[in-house]
Structure formats: C-alpha cells, structure tokens
C-alpha cells in the first residue's frame, strides 16, 4: 500500500487511478476479481443445474409442466425398470471392457512410439486423429463400415476366409454392444498412448541402462522400472477415461440409438430417451443422477491418489 501512496504523492493527477490500482494491490481482492467470472459461470451452469437436477428428480415434471413433489418415486420406478437395469449393467460392462483394452493397447503403442525411428513425429501426429476428429463424425464412418448390406468389414473378412456369411454388427443384440466397444476402444487408444508416452518420456533413459547393467531383461526392465514409475500417470489417465466412458453418449446414440430392442442403452442414452424423447424430464434427471455415486467415487479416488502422490 505504501508503494501506492508514494506514487500518488509524486503524481497527484493519477490519484483516482491510484485508488483503483490500490484496490487490486491487495492479494485477496485481486484473487477474488480474477476468480469471479469463473465462479459465476461454474456456479450458474454447474452448481445450479446440479441442485436443480436433484430437485427435478424428486418431482414428476414433464416438458412444459413444473410437476409436483413425489419424493423418491422416480428412483423407485427406474429401480424396477428392466431397461434401466440393462443400461446399468451395460454401462459397467462397457466401461470395464473398453478400459482394459484401451490401457493395454495404449500402453503397447506408447512403448512402440517411445523408440527413435524415422517419421516418428508424423506417426505420432496421425495416430491422434481418431481422438481429435469430432466423435460423432468419425462414428458415422464406423456406422457405415458396420452397415449390414454394404459392410467393408464383412467383405474383408469374407475375402480373408474368416467368415462364411454376413455379420450383422449393429443389428444383433449381442454383437451390437461389442461393436460399440470396438469404436470406443478405437477412439480411446490414441489418448492413452499419447498420455502414457508423455509419462514414459519423463523416465530417465539412464534408469533403463542401469537396469540393463544390473542384469534385467527387457521384460523385467518394463516390470521393475517402467511400470512402477509410470503408475501415477496411468492412474490419472485411467480414472479420467473411466469417467468419460461411464458417461458416454455419442457413440451409442449414433451407432444404435440404444437398440436393437434397448439392448445397448447406457445411463446417458436412456436418460436422453426418457427425458427428451418422451418428455419425462424428472425421470430422465433421476436416471442421469443415478450415475452420480459412481462418478463421485472415482473422483474421490482420484483426488486421494493425487494428494498421496503430491505429499509422498
């Protein structure tokens, strides 16, 4: 503050400006001012909707009708809804399977990319394409590749002698979920690979050399040196991706729309169908809120893990 007063003494004409300046010389006021726009937007469009969502799920509101308080009736209703139960099972299964594959393949690709070879920068740039191209658009390419009549996949597998007849990728209830998973894995692998590659690059090559001299074979070097050092990054990437996958919407919406016969619904697509498709806002809100406990758990795990890593 004394800086401001002496400045004001030397330049009296700037006194008015000096007061405003002085206001933000205080660290707390400046911090408040800088954080205000963020807090406003997040409060208005995250915190408020969340509270509103909880309220909504406790009423029987429909589109255009405010509705009345019904307590936990919506939750009781979805609990007994067979499609909802399928969606719950689907979401867990979908998240688990794709995460395992994305991690394994992503790690493999990251290890491949961690070597020096010609055109490395090019390859790295190109393999990220599935991740950066808008999901809906690339998913349409897959839908076209899965088309029962015109499928290029069927043609290729047939010509390779792998199949005798056609595969109904999206039409068969069992296969449809697998097809959606394939697309999710396809889109997720580059993200895993590039993130894990960044993690790998922080591991000093000297450690591998030391381990090689210590007598560790390549696989042992990976297991005893690379993997434990990569674990913090891996944890963060996996938890992050689990949240995204668990709350996925676009892939299923485009590929199957939840069908055939509601066999591929996830939380989000079912909530959309109920709330927007049939207009039962409150029930839809209840369905998407049902995701919350799991997401909350993952976030807590992630926060605890980050804290542990930071304080270690």
């Amino acid at each position: 503050m004394s800086v401001t007063t002496t400045a004001a003494l030397r330049a009296p004409e700037a006194a008015g400006r000096g007061r405003l300046k002085g206001l933000f010389e205080d660290e707390r006021r400046l911090a408040f001012a800088l954080l205000f726009p963020t807090m406003l937007l997040l409060g208005l469009f995250i915190a408020y909707p969340f509270v509103k969502g909880v309220m909504l799920s406790l009423t029987n509101a429909k589109v255009g009708e405010p509705g009345e308080w019904v307590g936990l009736a919506n939750f009781a209703k979805i609990w007994n809804d067979a499609i909802f139960r399928t969606a719950v099972w689907n979401t867990f299964w979908y998240t688990a399977v794709t995460t395992v594959f994305k991690l394994a393949l992503g790690l493999w690709l990251a290890v491949l990319l961690n070597r020096h070879f010609r055109g490395k920068a090019f390859v790295r740039a190109f393999i990220l394409l599935p991740f950066i191209i808008p999901t809906v658009l690339s998913t349409f390419a897959w839908k076209w590749m899965f088309d029962p009549t015109f499928s290029v996949l069927n043609w290729s597998f047939y010509k390779l002698g792998l199949i005798g007849g056609r595969i109904n990728w999206l039409g068969d209830p069992d296969l449809a979920m697998a097809s959606v998973m394939i697309v999710n894995i396809w889109r997720g692998v580059p993200f895993y690979a590039i993130s894990l590659l960044a993690g790998l690059q922080t591991i000093s090559p000297e450690l591998h050399e030391a381990a090689a001299i210590d007598g560790a074979r390549p696989w042992q070097r990976f297991w005893h040196v690379t993997w434990p050092l990569l674990l913090p990054v891996t944890m963060v990437v996996v938890l992050f991706s689990v949240i995204q996958t668990f709350a996925d919407f676009q892939l299923v919406y485009v590929l199957t729309g939840g069908g055939p016969a509601n066999a591929t619904h996830l939380f989000a697509t079912y909530a959309y169908q109920i709330a927007i498709g049939t207009g039962l806002l409150s029930e839809g809100a209840a369905i998407s809120l049902a995701m919350f406990p799991v997401l909350f758990l993952v976030v807590v795990v992630q926060l605890l893990y980050i804290r542990r890593v930071e304080t270690r």
Binding site: K21, F32, T38, F126, L128, L129, S138, A141, A247, V298
Partner: protein, 283 residues
Amino acid sequence: MIEGAVWRKWVFFYIPLAAFVFLLLFPFYWMIITAVRPDAELYRPWNAPNYAPFWTANPTLEHIRYLLEETLFSTWMLNTMIIALVSTLISLVCGVFAGYALARLNFPFAGGLGTGIFVTYLVPQTLLFIPLSDIVRNFRLGDTPWALILTYPTFLIPFCTWLMMGYFKAIPKELEECARIDGASRFKAMLYIILPIAVPGILSAGIFAFTLSWNEFIYALVFLSSPEQKTVPVGVTSELIRGDVFFWGPLMAGALLGSIPVALVYSFFVEHYVAGLTGSVKG
C-alpha cells in the same frame, strides 16, 4: 541400447506399429473414399461380384455439391465456428485469470477452490444436460448460439485453469516481484510479465478448448432445435438422415468437411495440442 536381430525388430516393432497405424486411420480413408464415390457404386452389396471397396473408378463431387447447395451445411459450419471461437475465448480469459490466482496468489480457501474447479473438470456433460436444458429455456437462451457459448465454458474453464496453473507455477516468483519493484501493479505485472511467458500454455489451452467445443454433441443436440441454428455434429446427425434412410455419400462428405477445421488447427499446432492433452491429465 543394443538392438537385437533384424527379424526381432520387424516382429516386435515395425509390424505392430504398422498395424496400429492402419487400424487407427482406416476409418478416415473410408470416409474419404465414400465421400467421392458415386451412389451406384456405394449401394452395391458387399457380396456382389463387382464390389470393389478400396478405390473408385469414377470419383464424383456430387455428394459435396449436394451438401453445400441443398443442405444448411455451410450455416452449420459457420455456427460451429462462431460458437467454438467465442466459447474458447471466454474460457481462456476465465481460465488464465483463475489459474493465475490459484497458482500465484495467497488467499483463504485457495486450496478448496482449486479442488472445486478440478472436480467440475471431471463432471461429464451427460450428468447435467436435463436440468441445464430447463435452465437454458428459463433464461430464454434456448435455440440460440448463446445457449452453447455460455455453457461450453463450464467444461472448458476447469481444463484451461488446470493447465494454466501448471504453467504459472513453473514461472519463478522473482519475476513479478522484480516487476512490482520496478513500479508495476500486481495486475500489470501479471499482464505484461507473466502472461507473455505463459503464451505456449495459453496456446495449448486454446487449441485444446477449440477442438473440445467443436466436438461437443449432447448440449448442442438438446439445446438447439431449428435446423439453421445447429452445429455440424448435430446437423449432420439429424438433417442428413430421413427416418431410416441414410444418405451415406453426403453424410461422409459432411463428416469429412466438418472435420477439416479441427484437423487444420491440429496440424498447425500438433505440439501445442499434445502439450494440452498431456497437461490435461497430468495437471
């Protein structure tokens, strides 16, 4: 490192890598080839004898012409561009300010606020879209670009803040102390000394935020209804399909053209994008 025999290099390196590249890029090839293939070839069953999938003898621009002249595709492109740019800009300003405050200023509850913002970063759009659609309608923002311009920052700001915090923390405290002794106010020290140093971070955050907004789907699907207000992902999904009939040629042409802006931005700033991506998970 000592390399093994040549065949090992092929089996454990070149072949797997080539397989990855092929599988990851094939759908894009398929997108391109479909976009220029005439309908007669397009709707030939895969088990027909003259099915030749991987190339076309008669490439055509008909689908692209249809898309541009007989649909609202160029309007959707413009909408998406404006929405992505403005929401990215808002998010950058908010994220840079908030990141600066959280990383470099001492004030009560700084830790709690930081955690709070990190948590909102993890909130998926699908958790809130139903009450949010109600709120957007109540604010009379429904079916206008503002519905998206104001809501996209909710998932962009936390990410930008998080990324910028990392950059700001790495800049030595002495720099702005020196600037303040030289006569700059706190705000000016931030504006003229710290922000220029953090430009690579701001660029990374901006690129990443832009691609995220271009990619967003569910808010755009729920908040917008008239065809001329839609963004590319939603427009392509809802307007190029009539009932059960998919117009695959224009669809793929739309997917292709709709990807070009992000692909261009990405290709110019690969390193910044990757820095943003890896920064977004490492913090």
